[in-house]
Symmetry: C2
Subunit: 490 residues, 2 copies
């Protein structure tokens, strides 16, 4: 615990890894690319899940569950989709092991080979649209507004905890509609919900926009995204919402009878966020002392550490601490009272700093005499001593203030790191130093590819509501009517 973290300046990537491990969020497992999400990390994910689930349900969605496995032939049914997802995936070929003849353990039983291989779902459009065919006959069956919380697997070669793992947890919404208009509105509603969640709960500002054609989801007609800026100046795609047109309805033959009795293909959307949000959360707020958590997502918002010598003092301090705890809990503030005798206060201070607990309250014998309590904010690292009477209102106020402060700090950071580039040289320089760069682009996939090759920057999105503005593409000189958002990205 006493060991200092590597600073962001020194080695950003190492800093990130040390926080993930040091704050007990996650660790690598014995299975290549698959992580173990530890209880403290999982508690943050549960808070995210609970809030997102509430938002989905408030907009009429219900949860369901579809199979983990996808028959190989399903993937081939939508041409663009198979190109995007069939390549790096986990393939189940057998359904039995048997004892090795030499007694060395178990081996795959060659007689138990599947007729058709099964793919561990990398995303569930195909298995779900195969199911929707049975659910949808008439306009009366529409819309279908379903979400699924699940694990998915994409065989990534280079993995990083939370940011890119072979298995990850996510939610995937899959909706079916009678009209294009309704499907587009759903797609937009969901990206708005993600942006609202990022802002109000993660305290993370995001840019909303459309992906360029080459960055679209495989099988989508339009992909909406939210993009956040990390402290190293790289962008992170934090959520996507896809308008799928009638592509999957056509691939899986899902038609409905309209009110007028005509047969039409159904319109589709899908949208998802994943445990990648954990990576975004960590990199948005944390500092060289460790994790910093917005109060709304902290497993516990307040920790109380007793300062004492001997059991008698601990008893006296505990009595007051437990009263404070109760008063805070009555205000729905989550509190941990760490009265472990196995660790010293200084050790505990460092521990909770590393774990990003928003407020630390320290209470000692002197405080009991004076009717005071020491309060330390994790975001600013400021300490102040308050009267203990009415401390619950003070704490409530401070937690709100921390939540706001974290958002404003992140927003200021992003604004300071957001640039406009008007020449190729300027563009290259800005991309190199990191940040969001708005620049003109001629709209072609070829130029997009060229820019990526030369600078490693990708088009993060074509921002929604972007101002039309005449200009020329920095790389080809061809005309352009708006700036798009470039950055190097995770």
């Amino acid at each position: 615990m006493a060991k200092k973290l590597t600073s962001r300046e020194q080695d950003y990537s190492q800093w990130y890894n040390e926080i993930v491990q040091g704050a007990d969020l996650a660790e690598n497992s014995g299975v290549r690319g698959c992580m173990v999400i530890k209880p403290y990390g999982y508690a943050i994910w549960e808070k995210m899940q609970a809030e997102l689930d509430r938002m989905f349900k408030a907009t009429g969605h219900v949860n369901a569950y579809f199979p983990l496995f996808i028959p190989k032939s399903y993937l081939s049914k939508e041409a663009a989709h198979v190109e995007g997802f069939a390549k790096e995936c986990a393939v189940v070929t057998h359904y039995r092991l048997k004892n090795a003849e030499d007694g060395s353990g178990v081996v795959v039983d060659p007689t138990a080979k599947l007729e058709e291989e099964l793919i561990v779902r990398p995303t569930s459009e195909t298995i779900i649209w195969d199911t929707y065919r049975k659910w949808i006959q008439s306009y009366r069956d529409l819309p279908i507004l379903v979400n699924q919380w699940a694990n998915v697997v994409r065989w990534e070669m280079r993995t990083r905890l939370f940011l890119r793992t072979a298995e990850f947890l996510w939610q995937e919404g899959h909706t079916a509609h009678a009209t294009k208009k309704e499907a587009v509105e759903e797609t937009e509603q969901m990206i708005n919900i993600y942006a609202e969640f990022a802002k109000n709960f993660m305290a993370m500002p995001v840019v909303q926009g459309l992906k360029s054609e080459s960055e679209r989801f495989a099988g989508a007609e339009e992909t909406y995204c939210i993009e956040a800026l990390m402290q190293d100046g790289k962008a992170l795609q934090a959520g996507t919402s896809h308008f799928l047109g009638q592509n999957f309805a056509k691939a899986f033959d899902v038609k409905f009878a309209t009110k007028e009795g005509k047969q039409e293909y159904v319109w589709a959307t899908s949208w998802g966020v994943s445990t990648r949000l954990m990576g975004a959360l960590i990199m948005t707020h944390s500092d060289d002392h460790g994790l910093v958590l917005p109060p709304k997502l902290a497993p516990f918002q307040v920790v109380i550490v007793p300062i004492y010598k001997g059991e008698e003092q601990l008893d006296a301090v505990s009595e007051v601490a437990n009263k404070v705890k109760k008063a805070l809990e009555a205000k729905r503030i989550s509190v941990k009272f760490d009265n472990r005798d196995t660790h010293k206060p200084g050790w505990k201070f460092a521990e909770y700093e590393l774990k990003g607990v928003p407020l630390r309250l320290a209470l000692g014998a002197r405080d009991l005499e004076n009717g005071t309590i020491e309060v330390a904010r994790r975001d600013t690292l400021e300490k102040e001593t308050y009267q203990i009477a009415d401390i619950e209102n003070k704490v409530e106020h401070l937690l709100e203030n921390i939540q706001d402060n974290l958002y404003n700090k992140a927003l200021t950071f992003r604004e300071e790191k957001t640039y406009k580039a008007d020449s190729k040289e300027e563009f290259i320089k800005l991309i190199e130093q990191g940040g969001f760069v708005y620049a003109h682009w001629d709209g072609t996939a070829e130029t997009e590819e060229l820019i990526k090759k030369e600078t490693k920057a990708t088009i993060r999105c074509i921002p929604l509501g972007v101002k039309m503005e005449d200009g020329v593409c920095l790389f080809t000189g061809k005309s352009s009517d708006k700036r798009v958002l470039f950055a190097k990205a995770y």
Copy 2:
């Protein structure tokens, strides 16, 4: 909807299937043995999850997440465990597909073969204890009280929706302790929690007991279980809690330093319930009209159906219905007001009967004049007309009454179907007609196997707190000191 269900008498198994499908709980998918859990079914599972999760957390447990995949070699490390689980499982052998040369679709890329095959987890003891080795050094790191909500896969040859599926959802608790005593207490605590949940939420009486050695979890030293009796007289194992001794600690070399500085192996438990509980819930309460749900697990507890001619009447009825809905919701009663104009009241009545909604309120123009409302109970199918004033208190009381009534009915059923057999002939006759049969057994696996062969009955459990009583085994005549519980089982 109008179609009558097959009756239990006629064909119990068909009746079950028709309820699962007719009440929109689940259906088979395009993947052999894997089900789709539909929104209405999933909503019941979510209610179960929420309550169990609350009970786990109230007893100090936290959630975490471990990998879906288990390296083949891990399974071999615990000898009994591999015997039980390595046989029928999904094996991942490759990590890439490629386009077929003949353009026919995608095929497994033979160059992307894994060095070591991965097993889709049938249960997670091995991957978790491989992880605990890193988490546990000293007695200070104990106990570890972790639970995981996850999907697991066991390659069952004969599957039935909820009762036995290749993939299912469950929770698996995995705890680590410094002493045998503490681990045994944890094992017992968790089976008590399952029994309490079954009684208070599922309204399902269960017998708690120990499994015989041959029915134990593969790798356990003792398996506690809860056993419920279904309406066809067959038993259903509804939850298990295992005392694992030091077996997994030894297999994965997990030791800790005691307070005295000695190195000792860690003691373990694991415990789980699954979507199988959905099958138990359905078969415990439902009748020939469809699903019957205990109010505490119903996705909505009350449905209000308007009876009207024309829009004017609908408006008038809706105004009152919405007031009733609000008054009920203020009491935390969940309500659906079904004002769809696409279906007639009679159709809706049949629909909600099939779906097991505990209370149906019908409100018509005549009721508005009289200040009344008709209330129909799903459990007894009784209808009564009440004054609408104060209806929320009436409904609250009725819901409590339904919850109790369902439990008492199920308990009476079980008691009527619980027998003692004192001769082999009697035993065979009772087992044939269905029910729980208490009988003496000589305690050997051979006799257990013999009884199973001759009668299809298995030992469901050796009930906890069973009275010691001298007797002789019905099949071998050898002496026995207590009766154990026999039944045919799911």
